[in-house]
Amino acid sequence: MTPIRVAFLGLTDSAVLVAAREKGFAEEQAVALDLVRAESWATLRDRLVYGQVHAAHMLAPLAVAVTLGLSQQPSALSAPYKLNVNGNLIVMAPDFAAALEPDAAVRLNDPLATAHDFANAIGLYHRKPIIGVVHRFSSHSLALRYWLASAGIHPDRDVVLRVLPPSLMVEAMKAGEIDGFTAGEPWGSAAIEVGLAEAVAASERLWQRGVEKVLAFRTDWMEQNPEPVDRLLRGLSAAARWCDEPENRTELSELLARHAYVDQPSELIERALTGRIVARRGESPVDLPDFVLFDREATPFPWRSQALWIYSQLVRWKMVEPSADAEARAGAVFRPDIYRRALADSDTPMPGASMKVEGALEAPLAIGAQRGSITLGPDRFFDGRAFDPDRIAEYIAGFDVP
């Protein structure tokens, strides 16, 4: 058995790691998986960067940011495996949501109209809306900025974005310190359940296949330990398949509900897993079948174009100076080569390419695979833009805001 320590945050999308440990998928690969819970992204990052854990359940933009030296101690990180796509909600206090489309399903299904309704309501509110985000370098924050800007709202000028840990969002709503927030599940649902918030947007309607958490290693450790890395990835692949099976969702939500993991009621956790999101307390759920994906459609495959999309947003919001060097280093954080090596002898379908145009698919599409068959789901951004990784500058210049 090879001991591997992985840091994680108590969120629904730690599912694949939890299943790998609790359902024996890691053990089958002779990996003794030790999951170390962190209470903040800063601590998770430090434990990885300073070598106290071998890998981490990390926000994909944070892995890019640490590599580019934007978040404390610079360190080259590598993400050979995506732990999920999608899985977040944007929620707001009922007072605020009152200015939006009252039918929650309609509201969630038309993010562009909702963003414009929100833009119109801002001026009527008694203060600049304060929206909680979990981290500057989070997919949540990038998606929220993208969504606000689509209606001409400047995220650094017209609203206040306040960084808070997901576990303190509900308390901050109760104290009136924030008017809404965006976080990974189950925290949006937790605020909805006590009547403090309503869902106003779901990440899967903003970018239908939005990059979210990755398994991040320090590049030097990953390259010095190819064999254990490959075994861990094979264990995670089997765990991810198990997580995506509808008949396992109740068991999975009960595992995640444990004190050592998410420590929230399994009923709340199950909402994200089944894609049945209660948008307002007491209402029947809205069906969002792609609310979070773990395995199907080759979800874990780290498309380099997705790392580059993150880079494009960091440039757009002036979090990094654009340069050919930064672009190359950001793109290199995602490591499809390691994914291919680790799963070479398995029956996991394997994409033939490592980059694609993001946001171009309106309907499911079968793509070229080295093995098996892969159908990619629709991956549109709600405003219809497509991201061509070969034309990044043009893509960034195409946005009106800022």
């Binding site: 903040s40 430090d46 300073y50 101690q73 306040r162 960084v163 840990p165 303190l168």
Partner: protein, 193 residues
């Protein structure tokens, strides 16, 4: 040198503060990480910020350090990035430190050394306290079980104790577990307890 300790456990902050004062630092402030603590911190313009590594508000603090215009210079994690052993010791002790960029290493190192020692001492104290509490609770449980045996089987106190101990040894269990099982069974049977 202004040092701010961000902590919501009064006891740990006090232990750390006392240590720093004993070492001759006198500009020390303790700020609990609640509400608008970031604005308070910004007004204080500290040279060194110490915070528990397990505190969920670290991301909030780091965001302030990134965007603040009030602080003249960016603040960096740990003293010297090359000093791996100190960083390891700090993480083991559960402490994170932010230091104004440009502050000389020899001025900061003693503070961090002291914080590491005090955090470790505090953790040891916690463990000892927890152990003492557990021992006390165990003794109470065993006393109750003894009383049940004495009254229901007419045993003397030493015999009741010996019976519990022999049973535990024969079953490969801890004495407190056998005692607890006996109390539960006795309660279920409506016996005296």
């Amino acid at each position: 040198m202004r040092i701010v300790i961000i902590d919501d456990s009064g006891a740990r902050a006090t232990v750390l503060e006392e240590g720093l004062r004993d070492a001759g630092y006198d500009d020390i402030h303790v700020v609990p990480p609640r509400g608008a603590f970031v604005a308070r911190l910004e007004r204080m313009a500290p040279d060194v910020v110490l915070m528990d590594l397990g505190n969920p508000s670290r991301d909030t603090l780091e965001e302030m350090l990134t965007v603040s215009r009030a602080l003249a210079k960016p603040i960096a994690m740990f003293v010297d990035q090359s000093d791996d052993s100190m960083i390891g010791a700090a993480i083991d002790a559960g402490i994170s430190a932010y230091v104004v960029d440009g502050l000389r290493k020899e001025r900061v190192k003693p503070i961090l050394d002291l914080a590491i020692r005090r955090f470790n001492a505090f953790a040891r104290m916690q463990t000892e306290l927890d152990e003492a509490r557990t021992q006390l609770a165990d003794r109470k449980t065993i006393d109750r079980a003894k009383a049940i045996l004495m009254s229901s089987r007419g045993l003397s106190e030493p015999d009741a104790y010996a019976l519990l101990r022999t049973t535990a040894m024969n079953q490969g269990k801890k004495m407190v577990d056998v005692a607890q099982a006996l109390i539960t069974a006795s309660d279920l049977l409506g016996g005296m307890s």
